[in-house]
Amino acid sequence: MWPRTRLGQPTGYIMSITNDQRVATAAPQKPAFHPSMLLYDQRYRSITIQIFALFLLMLGAAWLIDNVVNNLRLLGRTFSFNFLWQSAGYDINQRPIEYDSTMTHGRAALVGFLNTIILAILGCALATVIGVIAGVLRLSKNWLVSRLVTFYVEIFRNIPTLIWILIFGAVMAESMPAPSAFRGDNASSSMIFDAIAVTNRGIYIPSIQFQTELGVLPIGPFAPSLNWILILAVIIAGIFANKQLIAHANRLQSETGIRPKTWWKSILLLLLPVGVILVALGAYLDYPELRGFNFTGGLHLRNSFLAMWLGLSLYTGAFIAEIVRGGILAVSKGQTEAAFALGLQPGKTMRLVILPQAMRVIVPPLISQYLNLTKNTSLGLAVGYMDLRSTLGGITINQTGRELEGMLLLMAVYLVISLTISGLMNVYNSRVKLKER
């Protein structure tokens, strides 16, 4: 905490001297205030300049707003968000919540928002996995491995992300077989394990369905399935119980020096309750099946989604790899040597000694990479991914002509998403940063 005392205290010290002087000395010695002092007296000049700059800033803002209001009036346009309650009229292919073309523009924007969130979360997750693995491997002593990873990092971070997205989109659309190639007795393509179909319209994978539906939980516009909420709750409970088990084992180890076997208990705690609940709900896999023009059933990962997901994750992953490498290199070599001297294996050294210390260097720049990835999801329109930019900021604005309102709303939503991510990551950062005691 020394920087604050060093900067703060002496100032206070000087202040207190001047205060004392003023109190101590007689009033007549203090020069009378004169307007020219606003410019020529060092004490006031900075305040004058700041007030002046603030005035200019406010004037600029006022001029812009006045301009907008005037121009809207000249064009005979009003400022209104009523369009959000009008019927949208267009269809969206990827719908996390129920939507059809008779629903409102607001509902369409919500679908777009959820698509943005889905892409951002999955993108950040994949980018982190890729980034951490690539960052660690780039430090590998194996020449081939480290050069291969260097090649990946350099080629991905030096080509714009939009180009990567377009490349992935084009590769999926141009080089994969059409669904019709799966048809007939001597089909030229076949499904992987009879379960996954890779086509030029995306990848179809089996999805989990239930024989017993518990219904939905209506929360405003959302209606999440109770089945999934139950499963999620059981998984979280399992993880929590497992944590207790590990903590108990740690305590026992520090008391007696003998660590009880926990692996089979962990597996049991994590998997058994989920298995039981899946059987109880009658879960089964719904396989994709070629019917008519397309595959139906299963889960359809569209080209647009795959192109965005891979493009964004591989691009951002390259940056994260460099951040991870930098973080690891920032941990003094003595730490590794000390860990080796204690007989820790390289894997454990990395996991238990190096990475925890590297985290405090890694996390702050990682936050900006997450924010970048989230904002880059707005490139979705390039491959027809129906995110918030494509629905509210694209089709809705185009069909209703409400550019100003739409763009303001878009800005507000992205701002809120970014601030939320930044806030959550800062909480995490304060947990991993160097604890001073």
Binding site: F52, L74, G292, N294, S304, G384, I395, T400, G401
Partner: protein, 339 residues
Amino acid sequence: MKKNVLFGTFAASMLVAGIAQAQSTLEQVMARGELVCGSNTGQAGFGAPDANGVWQGFDVGFCRALAAAIFNDPNAVSFVPLTSQTRFSALASGEVDVLARNTTWTFVRDVDLNLTFVGTNYYDGQGFMVPRELGVSSARELDGATVCIETGTTTELNLADYFRVNGMSYEPVPVDTAAEAQQQYLAGACDVYTTDVSALASSRAAFAEPDAHLILPEVVSKEPLGPVVRHGDDNWADIVQWTLFALIAAEELGITSANVEELKTGSNNPEVGRILGTDGGFGAMLGLDDDWAARAIAAVGNYGELFAATIGDQTPIGLARGLNAQWTQGGLLYAPPFR
């Protein structure tokens, strides 16, 4: 002193804003010395640059006629390629003076977007194109198909309505431009490509094997396409509108690019004289020269000539006149009288 600076800045900014707003569109065009025309990003036959980078096509021809009417120079026009998504913002912001880009005249665009549709230069309708090998002969058989669709168009809304009304489902693949739609369609990433029939014909003409693709017989909407200007400048709207009517009336009255100079010296039909500016002083009423219409016709020909040269049945696009014949020939083209 501070106040003076504040007032000075304020006054100066207001002055600049005031000057910018005072000019009419015609004055701006005149001062610039050229017309700025919002065009397609590349739709063969309607608006696309040729091998030499010169813009050619049916909509482009209309802009050239307008430039000839104003400047007596069909090349005093620059073309700004606009996607379906950017076209209205570009027009509203003043980036282009006129939009001639296969734009459908609809209520919301005319009234709520504050645009002025001056007329229809092509009566169109939405259709579907499929590869012949798909074995589909009617749009009613498209249940479950994947459909490539340009976003921000009326076709997007018609598509949703058509499938809904007929109780069919589909998977939309939204794309930004016609070129991208064609690429996705040819790659087989969608079964069907839907847009205006004229644009389908234009796309098909550009394919390597045009005969392998079939335009289905159903036309599912009315798509009156025409030039668009901003709301509020009625004189400019009149100029654009009557240039279009002049081209249509010229065909009806038999004025062609070949005989326009000859007819200017004398015609026994007084309406021809009024169009060509030898009588009535109509050009001055628009704020142009009296031979404005004669220049436009001389530059690109009358409506029929322009149609035949760019999209007619002798061109690779191969569109029949159909609804776009003169009213005397059973079509919908009908110019009000020049009187």
